[in-house]
Amino acid sequence: MPSISDLFISLEYGPAPESAGIADAWLDAHGRRFGHFVGGAFVATEDAETFDVHRPSTAEVIARVEQGDQDVVDRAVQAARRALPKWEKLGPGRRAEYLYALARGIQRRARLFATLESLDNGKPIRESRDLDVPLVARHFYHHAGWAQLRDQTHPGRAGVGVVGQVIPWNFPLLMLSWKVAPALAAGCTIVMKPAEYTPLTALLFAELCREVGLPDGVFNLVNGDGRTGAALVAHQDVDKIAFTGSTEVGRELRRVTAGTGKRLSLELGGKSPFVVFEDADLDAVVEGVVDAIWFNQGQVCCAGSRILVQEGVEERLLEKLRARMETLRVGDPLDKAVDMGAIVDRVQLERIARMVADGAREGATVWTPSSTLPERGWFHPPTVCTDVDPGSALWREEIFGPVVVMQSFRTPDEAVDLANDTRYGLAASIWTENLNVALDIAPRVKAGTVWVNCTNLFDAASGFGGYRESGFGREGGDEGFEEYLAHPTHGRDQKVGPEADAAPAEADPGHAGAGAAGSGEAIDRTVKLYVGGRQSRPDAEYLLRVLDESGMPIGEVPRGTRKDVRNAVEAARKAADGWARRTAHNRAQILYYLAENLAQRQDEIATRLARWRGSGRRAKAEVEAARRTLFTYAAWCDKWDGRVHATPFRNVTLAMRESIGVMGLFAPREAPVLGLAATLGPLLALGNTVVAVPSTANPLPAADWIQLFETSDIPPGVVNVVTGRREDLVPTLADHDDVDGLWCFGTRSEGEEIERRSTGNLKRTWCALGEGRDWTKADREAEHFLREATQIKNIWVPYGA
């Protein structure tokens, strides 16, 4: 122990330990062995397989937890299913009371939660105490409000049912709260599977559930590794899966749940850009980098891990960053004056170290501070990498550690290009003192959250989630609550839906040849493809014959191929930015114009449709409904706007609704004219460009539509039409990595295939899975369609003169 006069000179901080005693006592009280929480009771089996839980800062084993098997998962799902009706019947007010009780309970036991979390995860006590646990309580308070208001804000919407939730190890309790609070508020019951590295605070939370008297079976907890998670996800009595974790596992979940009709929300990885303009307050930027990549040891899915800095200030920023790294304190997470704790597990630490070493071998310059790391435990120094090859893994892949890579840009446009040069789209951070720059760049960056002059700010009132391969769905705010509510069902009708999977999708294939088929029958028209604003012949000149309901041929359509899809997607991509950037008013005008043009030709189109329909009255009603639907979506164009979330900081949190991008569309077969209007309408209204495959039963009205598109000021490439056989087109569109989303109003097997194959780039899919609609009523469901046609970006703009 140095003398006081030595300390007077050295001005060392000295130790500031938070005692682990409270957490140790809790662990001891449970014999340091845990099972599961099912139906309101803790269950354990003597001879069950167990896994070790470590304290990352010392690598010691601090508890053993049971590996949940199929049987436990079954029992937990059963308990949740049994609890569901009673939980729903309790009503909003009573559910809200439970959420309040949980919020208060977390605050009461905040110290134990925080200490246990730091012990288990290795994160600094400062973070678990000041950030994680207060945010957890805030999440329950906020959602107590949603519980209370559910039937007023979302009339007619019940909870989606039994939800399976799988959460990661980086924010164990916080991620639990992000999933549990909205689910309970919506009226769902839960089976939760925490990460096997960090199961402890979830167990403590289960204890709290019992303490506040949450009805048995409403919250169930099953421990275990990926096998347990897989069993939960595959369980057929689960209505929704919510997952936070790696993009690879997210893809697997999409594949496994394909065609099951389970709702799915995925919050996955990221390689989020941190964009620094030359007019930024560089000292503020440096602290931003600290918060971006050295928060939670960089084990943050939305970590700002790619610094893009304007070339003129690159050198100065690097110099400042290197100086700042020297003052970061890495060490015992339970020391209150530590900035960075331990990496969660040896496996993770080795992965981080390997990625840095590989990067260095490929020529990257690696900067770390001169300080030394603790000898025991799993620690990694704060690290900045420069001279990183943009093709290298270090630059492109998620490191999930305290390692940031840095590259320069010249202009705002180039910053956007570099920011978006990634498969991910979770978050972005933009640093500039110029509002013009900030608000220009924020909407152009593909990311679910954009922080202006700040980073890693979270709140229950704001949605969090990804674009692109960072997943879909949101957590927090209205948009997150929505994920746990059943969809409204007006207009759904099994009777009018596509028939069984095996129903013939196409007319007989015709022969190769130009123009009309040679059968001599009354074929009145030939449709062409419509790509990039031009009618075009298909790549291979195969035709398909269209039959009426009595089996008579009434026309021919091209059988579009992979290459036609490729060309159409290219055209749609080219048009995407421009169409999304048009004003909503302008898009409305175009849709109104389209509706007017349809109105002018209404009778003629109905007459042709009647030939196929076999009923003039029904045909007329369908075309009339198509016109009305277009008017509806034209009306919505400038009304489906965002909101400003009430987050508890001095900032504006803008929840902007943005288009998804290039959308594939398999229009409903049962309504050849109306079906296209009812699905194209919302997509176009909100700025998407579309590659549409018209009704396969009767694609002929597409010819009329194409003429209408051509005469309604729709810019080239905004709508593209490809006819053909779904078995050709489904795989090509579902596999296509430049298609951002795909709607399919078709059979279950088509939907299953699309969902399963969409995993390459994790498209947003919306598949009817064999369920049809009475499309004449579909405009009552407009808000559902609009929601599916957009994604929400939250832009945080702190201010202060």
Binding site: S3, L7, A16, D281, A284, A323, P798, G800
Partner: protein, 335 residues
Amino acid sequence: MVPGSTATAAAPGSAHASEAPPRNPGIDLDLDRVLELRVNRSAAERRTASLAGRRSVKKTWQAAWLLRAITLMDLTTLSGDDTPGRVRRLCGKAKAPVRPEVLDALGWDVAPPTVAAVCVYHRYVDTAVRALEGSGIPVAAVSTGFPHGLSPFAQRVAEIRASVGAGAREIDIVVTRAHVLTGNWSALHDEVRAFREACGDAHLKAILATGELGTLTNVQRASMVAMMAGADFIKTSTGKESVNATLPVGLTMARAIREYFQDTGHVVGFKPAGGIRTAKESLQWMILMKEELGNPWVTSHRFRFGASSLLADIERQLEHAATGRYSAHHRHPLA
């Protein structure tokens, strides 16, 4: 580089034992450099708020830091009812700020600490100089029409000369806020430069009255201009504005000092003043300096507290550290 990383810390006991850095000679006004400075207020506030949770100093370490705090103090009285008797009592306190038995109990085995300076109005410079004779503790005088700085220029310059003549070794000047608020940076530069010349060998501390400057960006630009004009210290407040030393302002000024040091190699000190009353606050300020500028900026050559009631709270905390019992104000000699 980390600024001043090679400089040495203060030796125990005396605030003045360590080597003083060369004085800041100032530079010509570099307007481009001044105007490129921008401070993001939300980020500055976030940094200071998070720093309070990121660092803490406990037990013996805390006692050592508080003893250091005493050696950084400009013990100050700037009241309308000051009298020679009051000033002499203050000087007595400056020479022996901590009771010897408290120092003994803490295991302090070197010369007892003293404060960095005593700060008074011109009228009491002479009184203080006499009272502090032989102690090595310098007298600082507030000057140039303190606190508003609106008296005639010649008079303000004369005031400096008079105080220096009376034995003040440090002059705390106030700037014309209007120069900052109207962006008249060359006028500010000229003004501080003139004051600096009038100071001669006495050190100049430029009070920016940050509570009246409106924005942190103004604070940083004014800091930079004052340093370019040759200020030895930049100081937040007179203690008479409605908003005095705040941590975001301190952060902004500390960063300006760092920028200036990196640009020119010249060392400038920092003095927060007004509203710093508790031992805990003094630790926050020292932590801020240590984190942003490093240990050398937590010595009396580079850092001062302008304080009148702070000492009393530190004394109580030190006694608590020494005895384990909470202390009372009346157990410590009144300043």
